[in-house]
């Protein structure tokens, strides 16, 4: 089953796919542009993986001092970064490299602590698509990736649908792609994860208790390019969903003059 959370006509509703749009639990049938899409589940801890696709590691290798043989590169994010389908994400004036990352988001469904890889899938409730933006201008080498790069308001987009795990027979064989204004810029397959979902749940649950609603953003393949104000960025995973986001500028955010954009370069 696919489930969304949307705001419509003064209330928040659970919704399901219907024809070319969606159907609210109360029976109303709507077009996708008629509702405000929220992240499709109550999000707990947001756990993100860096460099979890072999080809993305290669893409960024000039700035790397680790290899994919090391411990998984895990970082955590705050709730303020969350955004739903068809939302708008701000690109501050003056930055030179802001990029999307199309990622399979794995949603935990049952408490996990010291879980063996073989049992890991029992703790997965389902999946959604994530587009996890980064602004590399702000990269500093302290507690990388620092939150100024990776924890932007509206920079972690989730949706449109939460897809039950039972409906995804093999989460390690899903095609991911990103298009910017209709042009394909990123193409990959979840088969190429360095640490697969089983390994990630085993690793994470060995050092912390995972709880229902926690989400693991499993990393992105190569093909990240800069996006500009006005771009429509579509991150899509076959069988999971097609997540649309639009890049907007400072003028939507009440800046009276160009925002300060101090960087370390």
């Amino acid at each position: 089953m696919k489930t969304a959370r949307v705001a419509y006509a003064g209330a928040i509703h659970e919704a399901h796919p219907y024809a070319n749009g969606l159907r609210l639990a109360d029976g109303r049938v709507l077009r996708e542009q008629d509702v405000v899409w929220l992240p499709p589940f109550e999000v707990g801890t947001i756990i993100a993986l860096g460099l979890n696709y072999a080809n993305h590691v290669k893409e960024l290798s000039k700035e790397l001092t680790v290899t994919s043989k090391d411990e998984p590169l895990v970082f955590l994010k705050g709730q303020g970064a969350l955004l739903g389908h068809r939302g708008m994400t701000r690109r501050p004036a003056g930055v030179s490299f802001m990029h999307y990352e199309c990622e399979l988001a794995v949603v935990i469904g049952a408490t996990a602590r010291h879980v063996r890889p073989a049992d890991a899938m029992h703790h997965v409730a389902g999946y959604t698509v994530c587009n996890d933006y980064a602004i590399r201008d702000y990269l500093e080498n302290w507690y990388r990736p620092n939150l100024r790069v990776k924890n932007r308001d509206g920079g972690t987009v989730l949706g449109p649908w939460f897809v039950d795990a039972a409906d995804v027979p093999d989460p390690h064989r899903l095609t991911l792609r990103t298009t910017v204004n209709g042009k394909t810029t990123q193409n990959g397959n979840t088969a190429d994860m360095v640490n697969d979902i089983l390994a990630l749940i085993a690793y994470l649950s060995s050092c912390m208790t995972l709880q229902a609603g926690d989400v693991i953003l499993t990393g992105t393949p190569d093909g990240v390019v800069n996006v500009n104000v006005g771009d429509e960025v579509v991150t899509e995973i076959d069988g999971i969903g097609r997540l649309v986001n639009t890049i907007v500028g400072d003028d939507s955010f009440g800046f009276e003059e160009p925002a300060p954009c101090a960087s370390n370069t």
Binding site: G78, M208, A262
Partner: protein
């Protein structure tokens, strides 16, 4: 002038509805302790913007909690920080307006596996279950006249008492709120740590600790050995 909107505030036992953010290296002495390494790889330069980290919900614990020390660690660092409890949405706020966005103050016992590298530390060091003690209460913002001049005494049953002050930080409370809110919006119920001072003590399994601040109270915790887990 409009009457300020009342701050949302959950009285103890309060509901921490938000995210707890730690602030790294806000004590100039902590950065200075790294010496020339600050300019060498992998850091290459001292930090510019505030360096934050997230203490996820599995870490949150109450006053008096017991925290398990992982078998792989000989001790945990007992980081003591002032916790700034955010009272309303705080985005792009100037120093002058910072105080009006704060609901109150609490103490944070930020426990971590000691680690020498701040480049890309493992989640294992900072996200241990029960490694973020909050309490013993939240005091209202106006109960403390100068949050940048508090004394925090950290006592461990192993190594006596260390005294720290919240003064002398690279970013004082108001400056920190301004500089963090410049790049991310904090929400009511979020807690932002002012930062742990250099020289935080360590404690081992079997030992207890307390963090005491006259204006806030006494926050206590205990370290226990992690029970060997049969992998389920």
């Amino acid at each position: 002038m409009q009457t300020p909107r009342p701050l949302s505030f959950d009285f103890a036992p309060w509901r921490l509805s938000g995210t707890v953010y730690g602030t790294l290296l806000n004590d100039p002495a902590a950065l200075a302790a790294l010496g020339d390494a600050v300019h060498a790889a992998p850091y290459k330069a001292p930090p510019i913007a505030p360096v934050l980290y997230v203490k996820p919900r599995n870490t949150l614990a109450r006053n008096g909690a017991s925290t398990a020390v992982p078998a792989s660690a000989t001790a945990l660092e007992i980081g003591a920080s002032l916790g700034i409890v955010i009272g309303r949405a705080t985005g792009r706020i100037s120093m002058q307006d910072a105080l009006s966005h704060i609901a109150g103050w609490t103490l944070v016992g930020d426990l971590s596996v000691p680690h020498g590298s701040f480049y890309r530390p493992s989640v294992r060091f900072k996200a241990l279950d029960g490694s973020c003690l909050l309490g013993p209460r939240v005091v209202p913002v106006d109960a403390i006249s100068d949050p940048d001049a508090l004394t925090l005494e950290v006592a461990t049953s192993g190594s006596g008492v260390c005294s720290f002050t919240t003064s002398g930080m690279q970013r004082r409370v108001a400056q920190l709120i301004q500089d963090v809110s410049a790049f991310m919006t904090l929400s009511a119920g979020d807690v932002l740590m002012l930062g742990v001072k250099a020289g935080a003590p360590q404690a081992k399994a079997g030992q207890s600790f307390s963090i005491d601040c006259a204006q806030i109270g006494n926050l206590q915790g205990h370290l226990v050995a992690q029970t060997p887990e049969v992998v389920a």
